[in-house]
């Protein structure tokens, strides 16, 4: 019996959620490094479509814990704990996101086993498994080892994950496990989403910034755009001054500093005090009438055009598009 690496795959509404496929690929990758078998761990009802997709990741087994979501981390951890005691996996991997990291830590604590978090790489040295993680804002890597016996727990840094499919499909064995529900110290009441208008700028994946070029009457269109791409509206100091956005939505040196995935700067010239707040944004898209606008120096995609024409077109395109927007 080959030792196993278990990878926690998140499911939402029966389908693979977020980086679940990448975590499956990660299991396969770890399996290759350590010569063990890759397995998936899934809580909740899993659609056949999801299972079909997982066939591309070379998983040996999938441990299915049935039940009605949402599951609290306490229940998931407890269930994994008891399955671990019976089945003795060598590694258990989680994505380093809020739910994964909590479950990983709970399991590590209850099993009294080592947990190395935010890993970017696994290695083998003298037969011992090692993990690498970025430390001190990425200035260096720390090489860590598990000092306790297996299972070795780890959370994986999301940026290290990659969706790598195998060349062919494999049929993993589906093993049904039991969820250890029952008396809990902490009860999960509900899972919900913060409304776009209350969502803090620092949490949004997409932020739309409005500047001097946007008139007050156009904010309705901007609102529509924001809702269609599930973005949050922020802006420059001038936008606050002109009454387009409240003070808490100001982006810039004296306002919020964003690190969202996308920032769409609409009618913003790109003054240094504003740009300071978007330096960490991964993708900046700018729409401005003037070619010389400083904002274009920072944008991945710069559109020289009239926002009053481009934005409605964009809204139409998005709303007409049949694909699901993230």
């Amino acid at each position: 019996m080959l030792p196993e690496v278990w990878s926690f795959l998140e499911i939402e509404n029966g389908d693979l959620h977020d980086n679940a496929c990448k975590m499956a690929a990660e299991a396969r990758r770890a399996a290759r490094i350590f010569n063990i078998a890759a397995c998936g761990v899934i809580f909740g009802p899993c659609s056949s479509g999801a299972l079909e997709e997982l066939k591309w990741y070379g998983l040996h087994k999938i441990y299915l814990f049935p039940g009605e979501p949402p599951f609290s981390p306490e229940i998931i951890a407890r269930s994994i704990h008891s399955a671990t005691e019976r089945l003795n996996p060598q590694f258990i991997l989680f994505e380093n996101n809020p739910s994964g990291s909590e479950v990983a830590a709970r399991v590590a604590a209850s099993l009294e086993r080592g947990l190395i978090s935010v890993c970017v790489e696994f290695e083998s040295e003298d037969g011992e498994p090692l993990a690498r993680k970025a430390v001190y804002e990425g200035k260096a890597h720390a090489v860590c080892s598990w000092a306790a016996p297996p299972p070795y727990l780890a959370t994986i840094d999301s940026s290290a994950l990659e969706d790598v499919k195998e060349k062919g499909r494999t049929e993993p064995e589906i093993v049904h496990e039991e969820v250890e529900s029952g008396e809990c110290l902490t009860g999960l009441l509900r899972k919900w989403e913060v409304g776009l208008s209350e969502l803090d700028l620092s949490e949004a994946r997409i932020v739309i910034g409005v500047g001097k070029g946007v008139g007050a009457e156009f904010m309705e269109a901007i609102d529509r755009l924001a809702r269609s791409i599930k973005g949050v509206i922020g802006g420059s100091r001038i936008a606050v001054y002109n009454g387009l956005i409240p003070l808490e939505r100001q982006v810039g040196t004296t306002g919020k500093w964003l690190n969202s995935d996308v920032y769409i700067a609409i009618g913003i010239s790109g003054a240094p005090q504003h740009v300071m707040g978007i330096k960490e944004v991964k993708n900046i898209i700018a729409i401005n009438l003037t070619k010389e606008a400083p904002i274009f120096r920072y944008a991945k995609l710069g559109i020289i055009g009239d926002l009053y024409e481009v934005v409605p077109e964009l809204i139409n395109l998005i709303e007409a598009s049949s694909e699901e927007k993230p």
């Binding site: 830590a105 190395i116 070619k291 995609l301 559109i303």
Partner: protein
């Protein structure tokens, strides 16, 4: 209500430097972990609402006295430093046991920690403490209500603007997320500061013989940062330029594009870019 806030001393990650040749860390300025400002503030806020005490605790060598003194100056009722020289290389698990011992002595209703530290980031402390004490816990908390009936409603921050709401009861451990509150400012020699000056940081030498077990993880060494080679790239096919780019983590970064054209084409470009960015 007695709230114990756990403060962590770390090397300031923005200031510290790593020498790639000697593989040593330099310019180490020890500071309070940024998340712990929010932890202390939450403790103070709860005291304002429900009365009681705020006790700051830190497992740290001598330099920890500074951050504990700051906690007193900010209004904490007591500040206790725990240490033993053998703890120098202790991992989170060992530290959690040290804190657990002190909690037995101090007595508490609520323990607050940072959800995850800025250095190790294991998020292990909260579940570890909850495990040792066998009490309820929740972590990643961005919003909190503690009732006078000892019931807690805690909102956990997930990604993408999602939340999970938990209910638990005191005694409990909570992992606090940055942004839960707005940490106060206490000016030197202001009223609260003056009250803090009258208090002293307490020191408790830790009895490590009682600690069950050794560390669970070990930090072997520091090495140069090396970006993960993504499988989707055939390294042999890369040019020297591209290999260097990959080393810097810049491979795959598209060039900036400036577009001028019809609104329809522009909109399409934006949509494509959006899709790509959110992949």
């Amino acid at each position: 209500m007695r709230t114990v806030v756990c403060l962590k001393l770390i090397a300031d990650p923005d200031i510290v430097e790593f020498d790639v040749t000697t593989e040593e860390l330099g310019n180490i300025h020890t500071v309070l972990d940024p998340v712990d400002q929010y932890v202390l503030e939450e403790g103070l806020v709860l005291r304002e609402k429900l009365g009681g005490e705020v006790i700051a605790v830190s497992v740290a060598p001598g330099a920890g006295d500074d951050i504990l003194r700051d906690a007193l100056l900010y209004g904490a009722d007591r500040a206790i430093r725990l240490w033993h020289d053998d703890l120098r290389c202790a991992d989170t698990w060992m530290v959690s046991q040290v804190i657990r011992e002190s909690l037995d002595n101090i007595g508490f209703d609520l323990v607050l920690c940072g959800a995850r530290s800025r250095d190790a980031g294991s998020a292990l402390m909260v579940p570890a403490l909850a495990h040792h004490l066998n009490i309820a816990s929740a972590t990643g908390i961005i919003d909190l209500e503690v009732g006078s009936d000892r019931k807690i409603i805690a909102h956990k921050k997930l990604t993408k603007g999602e939340r999970e709401t938990y209910s638990l009861e005191l005694p409990a451990v909570l992992g606090i997320e940055e942004g839960i509150n707005e940490p106060r400012y206490v000016a030197p020699f202001s009223r609260i500061y003056r009250e803090g000056l009258r208090k002293k940081v307490e020191f408790l030498e830790v009895d490590i013989t009682g600690l069950k077990g050794r560390q669970l993880v070990q930090n072997l060494r520091f090495t140069q940062f090396r970006p993960r080679v993504k499988v989707g790239i055939d390294i042999s096919a890369l040019s020297m330029q591209e290999k260097l780019k990959m080393m810097r983590g810049e491979l795959g970064r598209e060039k900036e594009e400036l577009f001028e054209g019809s609104p329809e084409e522009a909109a399409r470009k934006v949509l494509d870019k959006l899709r790509e960015a959110l992949k």
